[in-house]
Assembly symmetry: C2
Homo-oligomer: 428 residues x 2
């Protein structure tokens, strides 16, 4: 134990995750030193809330109020940023990097929105940014992309990256409850925040896929380049119909390379029952990766929560302390790959129309689809109520998003069609 090399860190934020990091480091001091040869020493912490600081068990004399003051301390080699947000956290992280300190962060919004300047600052100062905890908590996707795929070529990443949405969709699917009821249940169990907008709008998943896509493809994608559609408009009936056709409905975040372009999108998707992502249920996260050599791999685990997230932060601290994190940061963006526009995206589509039950209805809809070059794999009229509105479900063969959207506009104008049609894309 004596020969363990000390690595001095400070923790900015002693909330749920920060407190967890302190606990793991305290409880694991000996075992971490034994396994890795390093001892991680918490020199200081920053927390304005005295109660949280006391709960975290950091001695009061080590706790300061203003995180930016940690930057002044030359003994601190690495700071952990678990403050959250993109304002003060950005200032703190950039300050720490400029002062030559490594940064370990769980802040996906910060990296998705300000990653470019943060990774540039890290490169310029010869320090590293560890961010395993920023995507899918306890799922080691960052180190997998960085290390296991270092010699491979990634073709596609498909993630279930938001536990709140996945929990809601699982309940809608298993119990047939509506979106609002499932959301209320998620809040009651602490799986959704009081204001769940960031989660259910898909924005949180978009943050994460931007981070993964940058790492996988070596380019600097922006949040505004992600097509993003949340789950609040989903109806239970479509989840049921999809199930009858052998599909599950999941909110997926996708980054897919085709030629010299990468498509980036977050939206509810149909996945076949046999797909490994189909059975990722409840609050769990999962990332499916397709590589040229490794083929299909999938990582699954707890995407959020105190301990999984804190565990990922500690793993990053160990990487930094052992020097293994030398290649942790993003390299310079290559500037080679473009972003594929959504309208040129190819997929199979599930479309539900509300249409008057009358001879010739399907012919009318199919005619418009045909004009746009979209062929139909399956068409099902659900129920019979002559002269009244019934659902018609169509599964297309592969088609371009642009053509499908154009067809939907025209179909919406047909007098046999009574309501707004519902569109879901299949992800293979």
């Amino acid at each position: 134990m004596n020969e363990a090399k000390k690595h001095v860190v400070a923790i900015a934020g002693l909330g749920v995750v920060g407190g967890g990091v302190v606990s793991i480091l305290e409880a694991g001091r000996e075992s971490i030193a034994r396994r890795t040869g390093v001892e991680i020493v918490i020199a200081k912490a920053a927390e304005k809330d005295a109660v949280k600081a006391a709960e975290a068990g950091v001695p009061p004399e080590k706790v300061i109020g203003d995180a930016c003051d940690l930057i002044e301390d030359p003994s601190i080699e690495t700071v952990v940023e678990v403050i959250g947000g993109t304002g003060y956290a950005r200032e703190f992280v950039l300050g720490a990097l400029s002062a030559g300190k490594n940064v370990v962060t769980a802040n996906k919004a910060l990296l998705a929105e300000h990653g470019t300047e943060i990774f540039k600052a890290a490169r310029e100062n010869g320090v590293v940014v560890g961010f395993e905890a920023s995507v899918a908590g306890g799922v080691p996707i960052i180190r997998t992309l960085r290390e296991a795929y270092a010699g491979d070529n990634i073709r596609r990443i498909v993630g279930i990256l938001n536990g709140t949405c996945n929990y809601i969709l699982t309940r809608m699917s298993r119990e047939g409850v509506g979106f609002q009821d499932a959301l209320t249940g998620a809040k009651a169990r602490g799986y959704a925040e009081a204001d769940p907008t960031l989660d259910i709008s898909g924005t949180d998943s978009a943050h994460k896929i931007v981070i993964l896509a940058r790492l996988a493809f070596g380019e600097d994608f922006g949040l505004d380049e992600v097509y993003c559609e949340g789950i609040s408009g989903l109806e239970t009936v479509d989840i049921e119909y999809a199930a009858q056709l052998g599909y599950r409905v999941k909110l997926l975040a996708v980054a897919k390379k085709s030629g010299e372009e990468v498509g980036l999108r977050v939206h509810p998707c149909l996945v076949k029952d046999a797909h490994p992502l189909a059975h990722v249920d409840g609050v769990f996260n999962s990332v499916y990766v397709e590589g040229e050599y490794a083929g299909e791999t999938m990582l699954y685990g707890q995407g959020a929560g105190r301990w999984p997230t804190a565990s990922a932060v500690v793993a990053d601290l160990i990487d930094v302390a052992t020097g293994r994190a030398g290649t942790l940061s993003f390299g310079e963006p290559r500037g080679v790959l473009g972003v594929k526009s959504m309208s040129r995206m190819l997929a199979r589509y599930y479309i539900r129309f509300q249409a008057i039950d009358r001879p010739g209805v399907l012919a009318g809809i199919a005619g418009v689809l045909g004009q746009e070059g979209i062929s139909i794999a399956q068409a099902i009229q659900k129920g019979r109520r002559e002269g009244q509105s019934v659902p018609v479900v169509i599964i297309t063969h592969e088609a371009a998003e642009g053509a499908v959207q154009k067809a939907l506009l025209q179909i919406g104008r047909l007098d046999i069609v009574t309501g707004k049609s519902v569109l879901l894309r299949e992800e293979e």
Copy 2:
């Protein structure tokens, strides 16, 4: 590209995997250098078969016949061992380590049987052994255990580690075919070797769980400490009955810590439909890990085959070349944890008896189980044929293996019981 640091390697064996490694390194020279800052240079290769050497595309002047001659070359920093077997490969690996060369190997048998002396030699010579490819091919389980769990405490590892067995079980389950037919099909598709003994006996899985358990628990377990039962005795009828009860049958390799002991075992298991391992089908591999902090995680992917395995070898080479592999080798065994004997293992059991359909049969069986302290959760008599032999299926509550085995012996002696009973354990 100019500043990429060169790392000189030699490849011993230009067969399926070795040839794949050469291809990936050739095709990826630039992208690997750009991403990692290192250029991996193949200085030499050893291959006795001239045809294989030519197919691998290594210039003839770089190919020698005897791998051990590679050891003499001081320019070689790292050797890749993809010779296979535990005789010559052991000699080669120990020689290379003694000569101060790092070793990257895909050889699970070698590491399971001679890991102790190999890792000792690596420690003594200050070099590293990379072995990601030795367990579950393209699934990055080694680096996950080593890095992502460096600050966590692993409680249990459960793996589907043999693609041949998983393919056979998937076919038996989906198509209702018998073991022999499924095996024949696996051979025809190249998923089983001409002599499949190592796979279907569970030995290959035992090799792999020994490697994972050493890494997870920091102890030096031996192959003879693994309880091992293969799949050749499995009957389709039990897979069907299990399915009716909501279970899938999988060959699992388990390493589980309880107190200061680790239980190590390979045998067919019942897993509930909702378990993430239940839907790992076909030749895929998967490893489920339970950590104190990270909670449940699972990794899934291709466990064998040229490209996934070669991709894992290349990832290890990059780790070694970038210096990230400093903590790759096993540390000194701790000598703290013992091995839990199989008889004290606790599980729920599926037991199928063949018994005469006569009043009082179940009472007789249940009576013996009760005497051994085993309580019954479910008992089902399959079909009715008075006075003739019918299957009786019992699911127990949690019980100790020793007690169950004792009860089975006694039940076998009852005159109402006509055949050998079938025992399957549930893994939660």
